[in-house]
Structure formats: structure tokens, C-alpha cells
């Protein structure tokens, strides 16, 4: 953005860095400037209108304005009053009930607490007792509640696409039982993705024993397969790593994203920030070597973009320097300084390789850790939580068997191989060749369409089970509501085939009754209450580098024109969340793209090929090709293209149907993550929807960076005289502090806010007009050269200004100042003039241009938070500081006749945040946590020079330290 005189003279201590949001902004593109200068960008793009259509619409809306008065609702007698539930003694209807359970991501568990009311879940929080959560969540856990109510979920069994009753399905299962028993399972194949579930493992073992001729295939499509192979190569045995970043002085990541995609990512982010907050030690350093920009890279003190094929050479040079003291001459220039840092940190350093890296890189990382003595301090080795898949149990073996005609029956439990299996297997076609294929799935997905039978699978929030977390701790899964549709869990289906009662609770109990014996009842109840099984963490095992280990010879420099890297998607994960509208509309952390994906390439690579963002290209790998739009992503490694997985679903449901392109079409069994290819421009363009310029703020001092040794952000500006009324607060005065040094940009707060406050989804067309409704957005800024820029994240929500510009301009007094300094929004007074939004310097007010709450994409009523009003068309809305949570805490305190405790009120964003970037509390109380934070020298008010005196202030980001920092 251009320097705009009123704002650039902000009270920042020194001349602020120039930060930019996009390459267009860096180059001052004229059409972007027009968008930013437009007074009402969100209506300017709605299309021009002539006088006649305007009159017609005005007339129609006047005529329709009378219609709402015709509804026949009386004050008497609508909703019934019900007597209390019999099975929950002491529970009061109308108050939320929390259920501790575990949710799965790539086979591993994260502990969550499900908030339910009147038997329906409506919000998910982290489980503070669970080591993979520590009370925080990620976007996928938050969005699980919407998936539960997915209108496109499978409701009835299907046979060849025709609906069948459950009686038919029961007959099918009876036939299967007979056939399995008759041939001891001969000809049968079972496909169940690797899951760290003791109960499932027990049932699978029972099946293997009962039907010894049947073959099991347990692929782990997203497992860091290189990690296990690397460990076997370096240590002679497979291990899983549990990093302890609270002990680390130096963290070096080789690919991957420890804050978003790696196992235990929530915990890793929490530990990293806890280490940064530890003032007794100097600030730690995070160095990220990566091909595609990640959240870890954005947060890193030093980021080294490298083509995927060069990462191994980099790691090898580090190893050679450490172990043999001989750095290869052609090594990357950063190796020398990094070596010095690693040697200095010694056992307090840790090297973590990403899940997409080959075994050689993992082996080198393990060897470096072992050499530095990191095992035992910054990283621990445990037995693999998910055992590695032997080759005969992987998907290619199954494909071979089907091709050879050895498979007469195939049971697919919860997987969707027709979509996400390696493309060279062409799994959808293979499934169709099996005489009897039975698919258990949550949606009528691609595999359901290919199978002869499809059975509805129940949602994780509807069934019993257990799951190990990344560190081996077991968490129980238990239902938070009754089954919304008749369905089966994989455990129950297996029990059915074994001839046991398909009772999820009994199956879970049977697993643990064996281990616990006499203590069973107490321990089982406690595990269900806590969500974790006490003392179930995997023991640490000692590891030592094999004396005969030597790194594989360095690979030659890449001969290929282009490296292709497949990555998980920060919104849709692997595509299983494709029908989740919250996640589809979630701006991705770095590109801010919504409702679609794009092939990510470096700006210089694009310039060399004459490409710009939105150009369609064809990516070709071998004989496979896929058409995709490109996105120029600053900081991406050159001559590399990143293809995010999870889009282009053919049978995801109404929301996810054919959104984006399907990168699985290029992914083969041999090269699941990194491959080589070429790209050709197709000459056409598509419009990609991104929110990165929406709600742009002027000036450069909105995001402030301070140095670690002089952390002075300028503080809140001196109070200027104001024409607005003075307020006095005798009781509480709520305020918030947001730590920009802690924010990793993971978006958990955005979805948490959406779920908590019934924020509606508007759809791609509306987002393109700048009408997304998120109350909390994360602004992403870059600084420096686009080849390797610094990246900064800034959550922006209503600042609850003391001198709020919105309040004085509302003609109907619909936005008013509360006695505790909140900027209240009164929906039933609002007439929709949007003057407040126009006068808001922070651009945090959102307008309901349409009746989004009853539109197609709106969640069903059951998924909505009953404690928050649903806004209708023509009404302005914005962050309320979670007023419903303030009142819940206040009423509880009043009923108990005590003051509200500091920290008792936790906003939804604060609760979801893995790094505790948000802190909410009473600024009238000098000793409250938020007051203490606001007294820190890093505290500053965004656009404070406007004398809005915001209640939300920021703690400035601390500039990177150490070599090459900054």
C-alpha cells in the first residue's frame, strides 16, 4: 500500500519496515489500488445497475417488507417445555455438557472436549489433560462438528447405487459371515487404514485368527513412511520421535510443517511458544529448510528455501560437517553457520524431517540428533505408535491380487481409495472388478460409487473407540450424541463379522478389561471422564546409531526440469474434509485462497515462464497430467511446484463437489510426495478467490516488530483530546492482548470463532466480492524480497474502542457502548445503513447482504450455538468478545456469590489457540494477566494514532535473533 500521510507517522519507535500483502501490492498494480481505494469494495463489484432495475428492486423490497409481519407466531404455546433427562441426574437442561473424546488425524488421536446441549454437539474444545492438545485445537477438530451434521452424509445402505434397508444389509452381513466361515476367509481382503487404536487392533487380530485365509491391507497413505525406513537404516529398528521443544535452543526442520502437518503439531506449537516465553533462557532459534512455505517456515528465525531434491544434499553436508568435520565444497552457503549453531547448541538442538522427506533425509536427521546427543533432552524415541506397514499389506499388493483375480470379496473400512490411492493403481476401476465389494464410509464418496455395497459409517462423535496420540497416550472415543442416522462404526462392523454383539461400548470395554482386571470399573470410568488413559504413554526407548551406518551416497543434482511436491492442504487436509463449508471458506494461512487450491510456484520461476497468478498450466509427470491454476507464492523454492491434495472431489457432496483440482491424479505409489515433471502453460486463466486484499489496513505501523534486546513497541499513544464522550468503568472493563510473537497463523481461532458465534458461510461468489463473514481474520504480511520474505500473521477482530468511531455514526443507536466498555451490536435495532462499517478503521464489521443463515450453505440449526443470536439479512455483525461466555461466567459467579476470577472468561479464539496468543480479562484489575501483558514494553495499539483507544492491543513481534536473522 502507498504511504498514506495520516497513518504512516505512527508512534512506532523507528521507521517501520515496509510490509506487503501480495506481489501485486509490492509492484503497486493499478487494479489492486482501485480495489483498495474503493469506498465500498464489497458492493462495487456486485455489478452495475440501471435506474429501472434499481426502482424495481426498491419496489419489490418495499412490498416484501410487509411479509414478515404475516407469520402467525403468537406469544403463547409454541415450543414445549420438557421434563429433565432421566439418565443424567443433576444435569440441568439448557446448560452445556462436556464429553471428553478423541478425534483422529492421519491415524493419531487428539483429545477434545465436545460441548453439547440437549444432546446435540455444537462446539469442540481441546482437552487440557490430553498431551496432543493441552486444551488447544486445530481447524480440523473445530470443523468436525459441522461434518457431523453434514446433510450429504450417507443415510442408507446402497447396493449398486440403489437404496436398501438395514434389513437387506443385515442379510448381506449374514451371508458374509457364512462365506468367511466356510472358506476360513479365502479370497477375502480387508482394507483398513492404519489407525493407532488398540480396540481395532484387537478386533483385527481376532479376525486374522478366526479367518486365517483372509488377507489384511492396512495402508497408511499419509504416514511419514520415510521416517520409519530412515530409523531402520540409522538405528536398526523403527521408532517414532516425540520432540520436546520446551528444552530446545535450536530447532532445524527439513521440510514438513511442525506447526500444521506433523504428528503432534498442536503440542509442538505449544511447546515452542512455551520455550520462547521462558525468560530464564535466551530466545531459541528455529531454522526451516523447506521447499514450500510452511507455518514453521513463516515463524522461523531463518528460512532456507531449497528444491526438494536438494534437501538431502543439505542434510548430508550437515552430517559430513558434524561427524567428519569436512563440509563439501559445493555445499549450501548456510551450512557453515548452521554447523556452528548446531555444535554450540549440542544436545539442546533437534533436527526434524518432514513427512514428505525420503528415508535418507530422515536417517540423516536421526544421525545428527544422535551425534549431538539430542535423544533424551530435546527428542525421545518411542515404539512406533502405528506399526510400519509391511509391503505385502500395502495397497499395491492388493491391486496386484485384484488384477490377478484372487479377490472374491473386498471389505473397505472407512477408506476412500478410489479417490486417494496412488493414481497408477487406478483403484476405482479395480474395486469394480471385485465380485463383492463392501464399503463402509461416512459419505457416498468415490469408493462408495465403485463398490457393490455401501454401508453408512457413523461419525466419530457418535461411537465408542480408542486412539493413541503421537506420544502413545491412549484417549477414549465416546459418543457425544445419539446416532443421527442408523450407521455402524468400523469396530462394530468387525464385531458383526466375528459374530459378536456390535455394541461399541462393550467392544471398547473388552479391550481394556483384559489389561486392567479388578480395577477395571474405576479406571474405565475415569478414562471416559478424562478422555485419556492414565499412564498409557509409550515408554522411551534408548537408541544408538548403528556403528556400520553410513549415509547413502549423495544424490546427483536434479536432472529434471521441475520438481513436483505434494502437500497436505491447510484447509482440507487430505480431502476427507472436502464437504465441510467452514474449511472450504477458510482462507489458507499463506495464500489466503478460499474455495479452491492452486499449484504453488515461486515468482521467479513463474516470471521465467511468463506465468502470473490464475494462469492455467498443465503439470506433467510421466504419462500423467493434471490442469491447475498457478499461484505465485513468495518464498517458494525455485523450479518446484507444490500441488496441495484434497480438492477436485467427484463425489464429496454438494459443498465439495469439483472444487479445485485433484492432485492425486499425479501421485504414484513409488513417489507419493516428491516427483519430477514438467509444466506447460495452457494459455487460459481462471479467477482464484483470495481474501488477501480484503479489509486492507492503511499504513505500515499496524504490524510492529521489535528487537529482543530493546523490546519497545512505542506503547499506547498519548491520549489525545476527543469529542467523543468519556466513559467511566466502576466494575469490570474487558480487554484483550494478542501476542504477535506467538501467532503462528494456524487459523484455529478463525474456525473456533465461526463455530462459537454462528458465523455463516457465504460461498465463493460472495467471498469474491469481499463479503466473507469471519469475525476474526488473520492478516498476513510479508517483508523483504519476494524470493525469501519474512512472513507475519496478525489476528484482527473488533478492537472494542474506547472512542469507537462506529458508535457515533449509527443513526438508530444499534451499536452502543456497554457499561464494561464493550462495543455492543444490537441486531434488532440495526437497519443496515452500514455507516458503522464505513467508519471503522479496522474493517472488522461484517454485513449480512443476504439471508446467509437460511441459505444453502448454512449449517443445520442443530449445529448452531444456542447461546448466540442468529443474524438475519440486512444486519451488521462483528466480534462481541464472546459476550455469551462473559455472561455465563458472570452468572455463575453471581449465583455462587463471588467475584469473577481472572482467567475464568476464555474467549473462543483464546481457547482454541495452541500458542496462547490471546489473553482476555479485566483491564480494571491491575493484577489480571491481561493488565500485566498490557504493561509490557512490547504492547502497542493498532492505529492508535487515530485516538480510538482500542481495548484490544498487540504485543509486537520479536525480530529474529542470531546468525542471518532478519
Amino acid at each position: 500500500m502507498n504511504d498514506s500521510p495520516p497513518f504512516s507517522s505512527g508512534s512506532a519507535p523507528s521507521a517501520p519496515r515496509r510490509l506487503w500483502r501480495s506481489l501485486e501490492e509490492l509492484q503497486d498494480a493499478p487494479d489492486l489500488q482501485a480495489w483498495l481505494d474503493a469506498e465500498f469494495p464489497n458492493i462495487a463489484r456486485a455489478g452495475s445497475m440501471d435506474r429501472r432495475s434499481w426502482l424495481r428492486l426498491v419496489g419489490a423490497s418495499l412490498a416484501l417488507a410487509g411479509l414478515p409481519a404475516c407469520s402467525g407466531e403468537g406469544a403463547v404455546g409454541d415450543p414445549p417445555l420438557l421434563s429433565p433427562p432421566e439418565h443424567l441426574p443433576g444435569h440441568v437442561p439448557g446448560t452445556p455438557l462436556f464429553v471428553a473424546t478423541s478425534l483422529e488425524l492421519a491415524g493419531l488421536g487428539r483429545g477434545v472436549l465436545v460441548k453439547t446441549q440437549e444432546g446435540r454437539p455444537f462446539k469442540i474444545e481441546g482437552n487440557p489433560l490430553h498431551p496432543a492438545s493441552l486444551g488447544a485445537t486445530d481447524v480440523w477438530a473445530q470443523a468436525e462438528v459441522l461434518s457431523l451434521y453434514d446433510p450429504d452424509r450417507s443415510r442408507t445402505p446402497l447396493q449398486q447405487g440403489a437404496e436398501r434397508t438395514w434389513e437387506d444389509a443385515e442379510r448381506l452381513l449374514a451371508t458374509m459371515r457364512t462365506e468367511l466361515a466356510f472358506g476360513r476367509g479365502k479370497g477375502w481382503r480387508f482394507l483398513l487404514p492404519q489407525t493407532a487404536s488398540p480396540t481395532l487392533d484387537r478386533l483385527v487380530a481376532a479376525m486374522r485368527q478366526g479367518f486365517p485365509e483372509a488377507r489384511w491391507h492396512r495402508p497408511a497413505p499419509l504416514a511419514p513412511s520415510g521416517a520409519q525406513a530412515g530409523a531402520i537404516s540409522a538405528f536398526g529398528r523403527a521408532v517414532d520421535l516425540v520432540p520436546d521443544l520446551t528444552q530446545a535452543d535450536l530447532v532445524l526442520t527439513l521440510g514438513g510443517d511442525i506447526f500444521l502437518f506433523e504428528p503432534g503439531h498442536i503440542r509442538l506449537a505449544a511447546d515452542w511458544q512455551a520455550r520462547r516465553r521462558n525468560r530464564e533462557k535466551p530466545l531459541p532459534r528455529l531454522v526451516a529448510v523447506e521447499s514450500t512455505p510452511s507455518l514453521a517456515g513463516a515463524r522461523a528465525d531463518q528460512r532456507i528455501p531449497l528444491r526438494p531434491r536438494l534437501v538431502e544434499g543439505f542434510a548430508h553436508a550437515l552430517w559430513a560437517g558434524l561427524a567428519q568435520n569436512a563440509v563439501p565444497a559445493e555445499a549450501h552457503p548456510a551450512v557453515a553457520t548452521l554447523l556452528a549453531e548446531l555444535r554450540r547448541a549440542g544436545p539442546r538442538a533437534v533436527v526434524l524431517a518432514g513427512r514428505e522427506q525420503p528415508a535418507a533425509v530422515h536417517a540423516l536427521a536421526l544421525a545428527i540428533n544422535a551425534h549431538l546427543g539430542a535423544f533424551g533432552t530435546t527428542v525421545h524415541a518411542i515404539e512406533p505408535v502405528v506399526a510400519p506397514t509391511p509391503p505385502e499389506e500395502d495397497l499395491p499388493a492388493l491391486a496386484e491380487a485384484i488384477t490377478a483375480g484372487e479377490v472374491s470379496g473386498l471389505v473397505i473400512l472407512g477408506a476412500n481409495p478410489a479417490y486417494d490411492a496412488p493414481a497408477d493403481l487406478d483403484f476405482g476401476r479395480l474395486v469394480r472388478r471385485v465380485p463383492l465389494s463392501v464399503h463402509l464410509g461416512f459419505g457416498r464418496d468415490e469408493t462408495a460409487a465403485a463398490s457393490t455395497w455401501h454401508l453408512p459409517k457413523c461419525h466419530p462423535l457418535e461411537s465408542f473407540g480408542d486412539l493413541r496420540a503421537f506420544d502413545g497416550i491412549v484417549g477414549f472415543r465416546q459418543p457425544a450424541c445419539v446416532r443421527l442416522v442408523p450407521s455402524l462404526s468400523p469396530e462394530e462392523l468387525l464385531a458383526n463379522l466375528l459374530g459378536q454383539a456390535p455394541d461399541g461400548r462393550e467392544l471398547l470395554a473388552a479391550t481394556w478389561a483384559e489389561q486392567w482386571g479388578a480395577d477395571f470399573d474405576i479406571r474405565f470410568t475415569r478414562a471416559l471422564e478424562d478422555g485419556v488413559v492414565e499412564g498409557s504413554a509409550a515408554p522411551r526407548i534408548p537408541v544408538a546409531l548403528r556403528p556400520d551406518w553410513s549415509p547413502a551416497p549423495r544424490p546427483p543434482l536434479p536432472p529434471a526440469e521441475l520438481d513436483i511436491l505434494f502437500s497436505l492442504d491447510p484447509s482440507l487436509w487430505d480431502g476427507s474434509y472436502a464437504n465441510n463449508a467452514w474449511l472450504q471458506e477458510l482462507p489458507k494461512p499463506l495464500t489466503k485462497q478460499v474455495w479452491g487450491n492452486a499449484a504453488l510456484i515461486a515468482p521467479e520461476t513463474a516470471a521465467a515462464r511468463g506465468l502470473s497468478t490464475g494462469d492455467l498450466i498443465e503439470v506433467i509427470a510421466g504419462e500423467r497430467r493434471v490442469a491447475a491454476p498457478v499461484w505465485l507464492l513468495p518464498g517458494h523454492a525455485p523450479d518446484t511446484v507444490t500441488l496441495p491434495l484434497g480438492y477436485g472431489r467427484e463425489s464429496a457432496g454438494a459443498v465439495g463437489w469439483r472444487v479445485g483440482f485433484d492432485a492425486y491424479l499425479l501421485r504414484t505409489a513409488a513417489d507419493p510426495w516428491i516427483t519430477s515433471g514438467t509444466l506447460t502453460p495452457l494459455g487460459s486463466q481462471v479467477e482464484l478467490i483470495s481474501t488477501q486484499h480484503h479489509h486492507a489496513l492503511p499504513g505500515h505501523a499496524v504490524f510492529r516488530i521489535v528487537s529482543a534486546d530493546r523490546p519497545d513497541a512505542g506503547g499506547p499513544p498519548a491520549k489525545l483530546p476527543s469529542l467523543y464522550p468519556e466513559w467511566r468503568y466502576e466494575g469490570h472493563a474487558w480487554g484483550m492482548s494478542i501476542d504477535l510473537d506467538a501467532c503462528i497463523g494456524c487459523n484455529a481461532c478463525v474456525i473456533a470463532c465461526q463455530a462459537e458465534n454462528n458465523v455463516m458461510v457465504v460461498g465463493p461468489e460472495e467471498v469474491a466480492r469481499g463479503r466473507e463473514m469471519h469475525w476474526l481474520r488473520i492478516d498476513r504480511y510479508h517483508g523483504g524480497a519476494p524470493e525469501n520474505p519474512d512472513t507475519f500473521f496478525q489476528p484482527v477482530l473488533c478492537m472494542h474502542c474506547e472512542k469507537a468511531p462506529c458508535e457515533v455514526v449509527c443513526p438508530v443507536n444499534a451499536t452502543v457502548h456497554s457499561a464494561e466498555g464493550l462495543n455492543d451490536m444490537v441486531y434488532n435495532r440495526c437497519v443496515g445503513t452500514r455507516t458503522c462499517s464505513n467508519n471503522c478503521p479496522y474493517k472488522v464489521r461484517r454485513f449480512n447482504f443476504f439471508d446467509y443463515s437460511s441459505a444453502e450453505l448454512a449449517p443445520p440449526d442443530d449445529a448452531l450455538n444456542p447461546h448466540v443470536t442468529i443474524r438475519e439479512r440486512g444486519v451488521m455483525e462483528k466480534c462481541t468478545y464472546c459476550i455469551q461466555r462473559i455472561w455465563t461466567a458472570r452468572t455463575q459467579a453471581n449465583v455462587e456469590n463471588r467475584p469473577i476470577r481472572d482467567g475464568e472468561i476464555v474467549t473462543a479464539c483464546q481457547q482454541a489457540c495452541p500458542t496462547q496468543a490471546f489473553r482476555f480479562g479485566d483491564v480494571n484489575d491491575e493484577n489480571s494477566a491481561v493488565s500485566r501483558l498490557k504493561r509490557e514494553p512490547r504492547d502497542y495499539a493498532m492505529l492508535g494514532e487515530l485516538n480510538t483507544q482500542p481495548r484490544t492491543t498487540y504485543l509486537a513481534r520479536i525480530a529474529p535473533t542470531g546468525e542471518n536473522g532478519g
Binding site: V76, G77, P79, P80, G731, E820, T880, W887, N894
Partner: protein, 235 residues
């Protein structure tokens, strides 16, 4: 063309210009003004009547009973038998909802008394089927308003203050409008309407003349500015 051809020919000697007759009488102006004034008065009257009606009890269904599955009598249970409110509305001191009795609660007496009465059939089937009795709500708040029973009861707002003399009601009806203006009357000046929390469930309570401030000292009340903030009732 056609219009010209069919036009009637003027007869010879017919007068070319007829004298224009007077359409409006001399009083028309006055009549018109009277009508204008009447129209304005009608509009105004309709407005006043509508305003008055919107504030009247009938607009808010005050005193109108709702159809109930069982003809439950508060006057009998609460008035004559003096059963405490909290025996049935068990969560009124704990939660937003006052709570409705389960069939078991009713049956603790009615398994003995009136055990075979036909009016209690819904109760017996509720118990047998494990289905709740579906009572019809009488005191339903307008949309957008959030209300918390416990917050009021623990602060010293009596049941009677909002629900009236329930102990004299054969059929449960609304005693107050439950409009926003009515809520605000109390929120603007709560102290005179509060009681010591011990007397919250009593009917026909009179303050002791000696210590009018006793109730306020005992109750934990929010400052008035907070009580009249929008977010107190609207989220």
C-alpha cells in the same frame, strides 16, 4: 383516419360551445378540507390505538391460558397444599431454565393420590414410555432476549414479581407483559422490587418497615449501568 370518419357530424344550427356546468359546488372546498383533517385524524387515531394496543395486556397475551396436556392447577398445589416452587421447578436456583418436573416427581404423590384419574393419563403414559410430558410454554420471551432464572432468584427477585400470584391461578397464565419496557422498569431501579433471598419463594410478602435496605445489602446486584446495557439480555 378512422376516428375522423366516424365522428358525428355537427347538426346545422347546433351551438358550437356549450356552457360548462359547475362540477364542484361552493362547499366542495370546505368538504375537502374536512376530509383531509378527518383522514389525518384517522391515521393519528389508528396510530394511537395501535400504540395503546401494543402496550395492552391482550397484545402480550396476559391472562390467556394455554392448552395443556393435563389441567394442572397451581392454585391447588402451590396455594392450598403449599408445595414449594422448587419441588417441581428444581433448577431455578442453578440454571437459566427453572426446570420442569419429571413424571417421577409428579408420581411421588400421584401414585397414591388420584392414581386412576383419567386426567393424569398423559402422566402415566409418559412414565411408561419414557417420553417427557409436553407442556405448553406460557411465559415465552420475545426473540433475541436471553434470560437466566438463577441470576434473578439469587439476587432477590421473587417468583411472584414476574409470575404473579401463581398460588391463586386455576390455570397458569401470564401476569405481566414480559415486554422489554417491563423488564427495563425493574433493571433501571431494581432495589425497591428485591427481597431478602430467603423470601424469594413466598407469596404475599410485605417488606419489614424497619429495614428497607436489608434486601439490597444482602443481594449481590450488578450496577445499574450494567443492568441496562444491551448485552445484559441480548447476545
Amino acid at each position: 383516419m378512422r376516428a375522423d370518419a366516424t365522428r358525428r357530424r355537427r347538426a346545422p344550427g347546433e351551438r358550437r360551445h356549450k356552457k360548462v356546468t359547475q362540477v364542484f359546488s361552493a362547499a366542495a372546498d370546505t368538504r375537502f378540507r374536512v376530509v383531509l383533517v378527518l383522514l389525518a385524524l384517522t391515521g393519528l387515531g389508528a396510530g394511537v390505538a395501535g400504540f395503546a394496543w401494543s402496550r395492552s395486556d391482550s397484545f402480550w397475551n396476559v391472562g390467556v391460558p394455554a392448552p395443556q396436556p393435563i389441567p394442572f392447577r397451581h392454585d391447588l398445589h402451590s396455594g392450598s397444599l403449599k408445595i414449594d416452587c422448587r419441588y417441581c421447578h428444581w433448577s431455578v436456583e442453578k440454571a437459566a431454565d427453572a426446570g420442569m418436573p419429571s413424571a417421577q416427581t409428579c408420581m411421588s404423590c400421584h401414585s397414591q393420590l388420584w392414581a386412576g384419574a383419567s386426567v393424569l393419563e398423559p402422566l402415566r403414559s409418559s412414565l411408561a414410555l419414557g417420553q417427557p410430558v409436553v407442556w405448553t410454554s406460557v411465559h415465552r420471551l420475545p426473540a433475541h432476549a436471553y434470560f437466566h432464572h438463577a441470576a434473578h432468584v439469587t439476587a432477590g427477585v421473587a417468583c411472584e414479581t414476574c409470575h404473579g400470584r401463581v398460588d391463586q391461578m386455576p390455570r397458569t397464565v401470564k401476569a405481566e407483559t414480559m415486554s422489554m419496557g417491563w423488564c427495563l422498569d425493574c433493571h433501571r431501579d431494581p432495589l425497591p422490587r428485591l427481597r431478602p433471598t430467603d423470601d424469594v419463594f413466598a407469596f404475599d410478602w410485605r417488606p419489614e418497615p424497619a429495614s428497607p435496605a436489608a434486601a439490597s445489602a444482602e443481594a449481590h446486584i450488578l450496577p445499574v449501568e450494567q443492568l441496562i446495557s444491551c448485552n445484559t439480555c441480548h447476545r
